[in-house]
Each structure stands twice: as C-alpha cells, then as structure tokens.
C-alpha cells in the first residue's frame, strides 16, 4: 500500500497594513494617477480600521484559527463589534491557534529584514523602535537585527524620495523609503522592489512562525516551494525567481533549496501537489509550501466598500506556510494525508466552460477514487471573504463554487436538485480569507481540516484551486487543480474506505458516462479455435452495447500468436490500452482471476473466484484472498453488498472460520447460505446461483466456468459467460482471459465485463478491500504483487513449465541467487517461472540440475 505524504503543520498569518493599502494598493494608486483629489481618495484616507478592529473581525479570526468557519456569525461582520481577542508583544501581535495577526510596524520591520541590498531605508528613531518591537519574545527574539542599527536621518529619506524612492508610512508619517535597485531597469524599480519584498516578508514570517509554533528544526527542511503571484528578475530575465530560496535563506532553512511555482490563484494547490509528490517519490523528506501576500490587491474593492459605507476591508496581507512530510502510514490525529494519486487537473484540451472545469476538478477525481460527491466531508474551493466580494460586485465566490459542485452532483444523478442547498450546507462553509488572489485558494482550510479530522467531524476533504491564466495574456485558458485529502486517523483505522452504497451509485454513474470516457481494450486474434470472424463479431457487439468502448485487435488469423501477445503487452505497458481480453496470460503469483457468468438456475450475475492464477501459496490463504477478490469484482460490477459462499472443497472449513474472524474484527461482508441452508456451498449452488460470489480453488473454478460456458454447445464451444475474468492482485494491467474456443457471445461479454471493471477501477476497489481486511487481521503468505527482487527487472516472455506449485517460491529464489530475473506465475498448464528469452537456457538447466523440472 502506497505510503502517501502528509501535512503535519500549517500556519496562516495576517499582516495588517492600512498605510500600505492606502498608498500602494493598485486601485488607490491607479486613482491617484487618473483622478488625483477625487472624492474617493479623500474618503479613502479616513476609511481604514484600527489594528484592534482588524484583529477582532470575524473573518480574520477564522483565518488564524480562532473562529470555526462553520460557526461564523451572521453578516455583516464589519460592524459585528469587538470580540474577545488578546494582544501580545506590546499590542503589536494577536495570536491564534494556527496563525497570528501583526500590525504595520512588524510588517515594516520584516520588509527591512527581507532586504538584502540596502534598498529599504528606515528613519533612525523609527528603526530603533522597530528593533525593540521585533526583539520581543512573541516576535523574533533571536533575530540578527544589526541592520536596524543603520537607520538614517529623515532628510536623507526625503532626498531619496525626491529622487524616486517610494515612501514608507507608519501612523500617517513617513518612516522610511524603498529605493529602486537600478536607475533605468523598470523590473528593478522601487515599485517592483516594494511589491516583491512585501511578498517575501510575508512568506518569511509565515515560515518562521510555522517552525516556531510547531517546534520544527529549520535544518530538517529539504525544500521550499513558493506559490505567490509576483515575479522577480531584471531586464534580461524578468521572472527569473527564486523567491523560495530567498525566503528559506532568511528563515534559516540551511539545508534546503527551493523553487517557485506559478499559476495565478491556483499556484498554492499546484505547490501542495508537487510537494506531496516530491515527498512520496522520496526526493525530499520535508517540503514547505509557502507564499506571502500582495500589496497590489490591498484596498482593491475599496471604492465599492466606501460607497456602501463599509470600512476598507482589504487592509491585510495574507501569508501561509504548510509542511509536507513523509510517512502517511505513521500519521497521527490531525495529520492530513495527501492523496496525490487522486488529483483533479484542468486539462489543456478540456475547454473552460464551468461545467468542464468542475468535471475535471471534482467529478473526475471522485470517479477515480470510487467516491460519490456526498462522500467528501468538506469542499474547500476559493475561500474569499464574501463580505468583501459581494460588496465589490463579484458575488459570493465560495458559494458560487459550492453551487457548481452541487449542480454537478445533480447532473451525475447523485443528489436531487431540491437538495442542492442542503448539500452545500453540509459539505461546505462560507469563505473567510482575504481577497489576495492565491491566498484564498483552498489552502486556508488546511488548518481547519486538520482540526476537523482530529475531532472526527469529517474523514476527508477536497481542496480546489483555480487560476485565471488569461489575465497574463499568454493564453485564453483557465487553470485549476484539486487534491483529495484524507484523515490520518481514518487511514490507520481503515475507515476511509468508501461506504458500499456509494460504490454502487458510482458504478452506475460511470457506466452511464462511458460514452464520453473512451475505454480502449485490446483483443488478440491468433490462436483462436473459433473462426476470427467470431472475435470480430463479438468486438462489434460489445462496441455497440457500450458507446465509448474501442476494441483494438492484435494480429490476425495468420499471425504468430506470440508476436500478437507481445504487441498487446507492449501496448498495455505504454498505457495505450486500459485492459485486454486474450487467451492466456502469465499472471504473477498473488493473482486471483474472477470469472463471471449468469447462474443457470436464476439468471443472476455470478462471480467465480478464482478461475486461474494463484492468489497465495497457502491453500487456505488462497481461498480467503479469492473471497476478497470476488467481493471486489462484484462490487465493481455494481452489487452493493455481495453475498459470498465458499464451495465445500479441501480447506474450505478453515477458510470460512478465518473469514468469520475477519468479519468479527470489522471486515464487513455477507455470508450466503446454501440451498439447504448450510454454511458451505455444494456444486448445485453454482447452478442455483445461491450466492453472488462463489469461492473455490483455481482448478475447480476453472472447471466450473468451462462447464457452464460450454453446456449448451455440448462442450464444443463456449457460448455463455464472460470468460475467466480479470486478474486481481499483483502489478499487472487488467487482463481478462477467455477460452480459445469462445463464441462471439463470450467475446462480447468478456469485453463488456472488462470495460465495466476498468471504469469502476476494480484494482483500486480490490486494494481498498485488502486494506480493510488487513486492518481486520488478514494474514497472507505473500507480499501483494510479489515479484522477485535482486537482479534488474526485465521483460519476461519465456515460460518454464512443470514446477510443483509448492516449490515455486524456492525455484524463484534459486534463480534470483544465480542473478537471473524471473517471476512466478500461472500459465495455461499450471504454475510457471517466467524469465527473459535470453536467460531461459541457463534458467532451465539450473532448475533441472536442482530437481525442480524433469
């Protein structure tokens, strides 16, 4: 089972900066150029909130972890009155559960600290005052603040401003300035430097606060990904970067390197996905994803806010830092498992209609995970504070996004249209984040998601980031990315497995949407005992039955079967095919194949587990694993809670008592009773169809399928059933085996069966069943997907037959010792060891010499 990355800590900070908003927000700045002295500008100056008011603002309290977004008071929030908040560091900081709010003095101090080229000058007295503020225990008591001793006289600052530097204000007075870094290069102008330094300063603060709050040693961090929307560079490399490394340098991440990720507001979720993948790949152990805020978006909607009698609500910059580390299986309460394998991506070819976007970002990953819309505990789309956006004329962004998710659930027939509002209430919340582009993009929910995981309120969540790429004029495209997050606790206890009911609903939906999905299945032609026309006919029937299914033929009547098989194998390896139907396949040890037919007695769907392959070298273990594989196939077919019966074969009684023990320990399944009402099934139960899944050993299962399939043709041709079924377990593609004597009906059925298994993601369902069974104490004699380690992996295309099944493992070890790569498997005639063609001579002679084959 894959060990996913996890989020173990997150930090969300706000930097209150009314002066920065008044002077350097792009809306006020634009107005100053276009209409200096306008009524708006006059009103703006007196429309800012005090630090205390900004701190007690409910949306800001939600951001730093003090007011649960699910319990935010009724709006309006801006005149909600002061709530109980506390201040420290001489009134310059207010701390929350996972973030803090600081005043403008701290921001100016961080700005100076972030300046490596003496571009920020602070007035002498102010510089000393700031130094004292920063050195307080709650802020940066151990920081090296030597540069604050270099404060300059106000006359020098005025001269610099005269020469083009931008003034920095504190309490309505000039407290310093930011100089251009080059006289002519507009990429290094005072304005660009200020914007970049402010973003860097915010990110540094968030990273330092994250490390401090969670007592993390900075030297353990390997990598930092910065995800803001700024660009740093000069005339010859305007967006050269790398903010990440600059932030890491100041935050003391001495062993880390880093890079920047950009995608407008979607960048933080991209960053999270990259961090999770880098950690899971083993490239790094600890990665921080971080971003500071943006000065440009300060006071962005202030014209509209002032018109409506609001204060300027966009008076704070946001910043965040999230720690991603390895060891999902070791997670503790509150850890967030990042399912990087269940990511929604807005594809380049998808088109930008809202419907396509939600399909890509929400419906597709849910379908891949085998989850319904209602299975997700909490959706975190753009979490913009609605009080800001509604008054600004952009509506309630979070609600609009949640409505789209709910509407897509209606379209997928998973909820009723009349239930949309209830769905939104249950699976979402109001937004609360400052409208700083990339800051609200799903990420601010991470602190709360961790809390809700810890409380057991939800077990999973989805963060959704969206970005308006078209604003950069390089493309008309939109962007978006989403990730499924799971509770660390739930994972450990196995409760993250989706409810059976939801699997059923999902399968229905997926089969219905197959027309759009396009499933490509391979079908080998040579080697058939029936005329090739039967195979073509079966393929055409299957394609007609399931729109969107494409069958690709390998070879023809006159081709060499081995060549066709190898071509098919190569297409499967390259993922040109989603699966294949063929006459034989050397499944590795650990695989059970699940056959499907209709029970002659009642016409019900009947799954025979298994029909070929060896799921375990121990007979009883094999029966137990066959049971689980059978359940997975039946569930993938759409049977909600399949009933399972064990055929009365050697070892069946022990197998049934082990299965009951698993059931008692929490692995839920339904045990069927025979026609006579007994626990073990007899041969007549196969005919009667008394269970959905009938468990047997490989050889008897194979015989039963053959008997049922060939009965009405007198045993000459197989005319009913869907073949011997796909192999489950082990690392191999979905391959369904059919008899060489198959009629078009069986070919068609087998293709339809395989397509349904592909779409439902049977391998994933089986994996989840195994996890649940293992959590209940399943023991197996094999590692899942057992392949031999040691020599380098090769393509194995030569089978060596005649080895006793009980000696297979031993034979594999022997060849491995001789440095020959090999895999154990089940061939047409029984167990085989598979080796590369060039190794086959040597391997055979070793096996002969040691008495494994004659």
């Amino acid at each position: 089972m894959a060990d996913f990355s996890r989020i173990t800590a997150s930090e969300f900070d706000l930097l209150h900066c009314p002066e920065m908003s008044l002077h350097y927000g792009s809306t006020p700045e634009g107005e100053k150029h276009a209409n200096p002295g306008s009524d708006y500008l006059k009103a703006l100056e007196n429309s800012f909130r005090s630090f205390e008011d900004a701190v007690s603002y409910p949306a800001n309290q939600a951001f730093v972890g003090n007011i649960d977004p699910l319990n935010l008071p009724e709006r309006p929030w801006h005149n909600a009155g002061a709530s109980a908040v506390s201040f420290s560091a001489g009134g310059h900081l207010s701390d929350g559960s996972f973030g803090n709010i600081t005043d403008e003095a701290v921001l100016l101090g961080l700005l100076k600290m972030s300046d490596s080229f003496d571009l920020v000058l602070l007035e002498k007295d102010f510089s000393e005052e700031i130094k004292k503020i920063l050195l307080q225990p709650e802020i940066l008591p151990e920081a090296d603040l030597l540069k604050f001793d270099k404060g300059v006289l106000i006359d020098r600052i005025n001269e610099e401003i005269e020469a083009g530097a931008l003034p920095l204000y504190y309490g309505k007075k000039i407290a310093g300035c930011v100089k251009a870094a080059h006289p002519d290069d507009k990429n290094l102008s005072a304005h660009v430097i200020l914007e970049n330094l402010a973003s860097k300063a915010g990110a540094v603060w968030a990273v330092v606060s994250l490390l401090k709050r969670n007592k993390i040693d900075p030297s353990t961090i390997d990598y930092i990904i910065e995800t803001s929307e700024e660009a740093c560079g000069d005339a010859n490399q305007r967006g050269g970067g790398n903010f990440a490394k600059a932030i890491g340098e100041l935050a003391g991440l001495l062993n880390a390197t880093g890079s920047d990720t950009r995608s407008f507001c979607a960048a933080p979720v991209h960053g999270l996905l990259q961090a999770a993948s880098l950690v899971k790949a083993g490239t790094f152990k600890k990665v921080i994803v971080a971003a500071g805020g943006t000065t440009a978006k300060l006071a962005m909607n202030s014209k509209k806010h002032i018109e409506k009698g609001f204060p300027v609500l966009e008076d704070t910059m946001g910043a965040f830092a999230v720690l991603v580390e390895a060891g999902g299986s070791l997670s503790s309460a509150g850890d967030i498992i990042i399912r990087n394998d269940i990511a929604g991506i807005h594809r380049i070819g998808s088109g930008s209609s809202p419907q396509n976007v939600i399909q890509n970002l929400v419906a597709d990953p849910l379908e891949k995970a085998g989850l319904t819309f209602a299975d997700i505990g909490y959706y975190a789309p753009e979490l913009h504070n609605p009080e800001v956006t509604e008054a600004g004329g952009a509506g309630n962004v979070t609600l609009a996004n949640l409505k789209m998710v709910a509407a897509m659930a209606v379209m997928k027939k998973q909820i009723e249209k009349t239930d949309m509002n209830a769905f939104i209430q249950k699976h979402g919340s109001s937004g609360w984040a400052p409208t700083q582009g990339h800051i609200p993009s799903g990420i601010p929910a991470l602190g709360w998601i961790s809390r809700w995981f810890k409380d057991g309120r939800i077990k999973n969540a989805m963060v959704i980031g969206k970005g308006s790429l078209f604003l950069g004029r390089m493309t008309g495209l939109f962007d978006g990315v989403s990730i499924l997050l799971e509770s660390g606790q739930a994972k450990v206890s196995g409760t993250s497995f989706p409810a059976e009911a939801s699997v059923k609903t999902q399968v229905k939906t997926q089969v219905k949407s197959l027309r759009k999905t396009e499933v490509r299945l391979g079908l080998t032609i040579p080697g058939s005992e029936s005329p090739a026309s039967e195979l073509y006919r079966g393929a055409a029937e299957a394609e007609e039955l399931i729109g969107g299914l494409e069958v690709v033929f390998f070879g023809d009547e006159s081709s060499n079967p081995d060549d066709a098989h190898q071509e098919m194998e190569s297409a499967l390896r390259c993922k040109d095919l989603d699966g294949a139907v063929t006459f034989h396949y050397p499944f590795p040890l650990g695989t059970a194949t699940i056959g499907h037919t209709l029970a002659p007695g009642n016409g019900h769907n009947l799954f025979i587990a298994s029909t070929t392959g060896i799921s375990d070298t121990d007979r009883v273990n094999a029966l137990v694993k066959n049971t689980i594989a059978g359940i997975a196939a039946a569930k993938a077919w759409g049977i909600e809670n399949p009933s399972v019966g064990i055929l009365n074969l050697d070892g069946a009684r022990t197998a049934i008592s082990r299965l009951k023990a698993l059931r008692d320990a929490g692995y839920k399944f339904k045990l069927a009773a025979s026609v006579r009402g007994e626990e073990l099934l007899r041969g007549n139960d196969i005919l009667a169809g008394t269970a959905d899944v009938i468990v047997c050993d490989t050889l008897s299962g194979n015989a039963f399928i053959k008997l049922v399939a060939g009965f009405s043709s007198g045993g000459i041709t197989e005319v009913s059933g869907s073949g011997y079924g796909p192999g489950l377990g082990g690392e191999h593609p979905l391959v369904n085996i059919i008899s060489r004597a198959s009629s078009s009906a069986v070919v068609s059925n087998a293709l339809v069966y395989s397509a349904r298994m592909v779409v439902a993601g049977v391998a994933d369902i089986y994996r989840k069943e195994l996890i649940a069974a293992k959590a209940a104490g399943l023991i197996t004699g094999l590692k899942d997907g057992s392949t031999s380690a040691g020599p380098d992996r090769k393509t194995v295309n030569k089978e060596i037959e005649g080895i006793d099944v009980l000696k297979l493992d031993e034979a594999v070890s022997l060849l491995k010792e001789a440095d020959l790569y090999c895999e154990a498997g089940m061939g047409c005639t029984g167990p085989v060891v598979m080796v590369a063609a060039e190794d086959s001579g040597k391997a055979e002679s070793i096996l002969v010499k040691n008495g494994f084959i004659g």
Partner: protein
Amino acid sequence: MDLENQKRVKELAEKHGKENIFVLIGGADPEACGLAVETVMAGDPAFAGSLTGVQLGLSAYHIVEPEIKAEIDPSVYEENIGMMEMVLDIDSIIEEVSTIRKDCS
C-alpha cells in the same frame, strides 16, 4: 461593460455590419448582463468606453434565455450549460436582460 470588449464589439460591427453581429452574453450577475445589453444596443451608460453615445442597436441575448435555448440541440445545451442553469439566478437574468432589451429597442 469591459472597455476592451466595447472596443472589440464596435470594431466587429464596423467591419461586418451591425445586421451581421449577434451578441451572446454568459455573465452571472443579472445587473451586469443588463448593462452589457444596454451598451451594445443603446451605448455605454457609464460614458467610459468606446460605445459611449454609439447606438449600435445590436441583437443581444443571454445564453439562458428561452429564445436561445430553443435554438440549441438539447444534448449540447445540457452538456455545456446544464450545470450553470442550476447555479445561476436564471429568472432574474432573463427578467433583467429582456426588460432592458425591450426598453432599448
């Protein structure tokens, strides 16, 4: 209406002739949609863009209006607009856009 869009609409109408231009709106906010219709029919009411004082009199509808929906293959409509039909305040959009269209014609 966005100033850049006003410029583009004006240029297209000049190039191809007003009678050959049809404006289809897809906005979410009823008021903004109404303003867009007004702008391309009677001129920019905000007196800011290139359509200020220019009465193009173009034909303008919102994608969710019944007249437009009736023209589109239902399955294509469902595939592209079905979800947003549930999200948008369709009644208000239709009311606003059709009233303004009536007032401007």
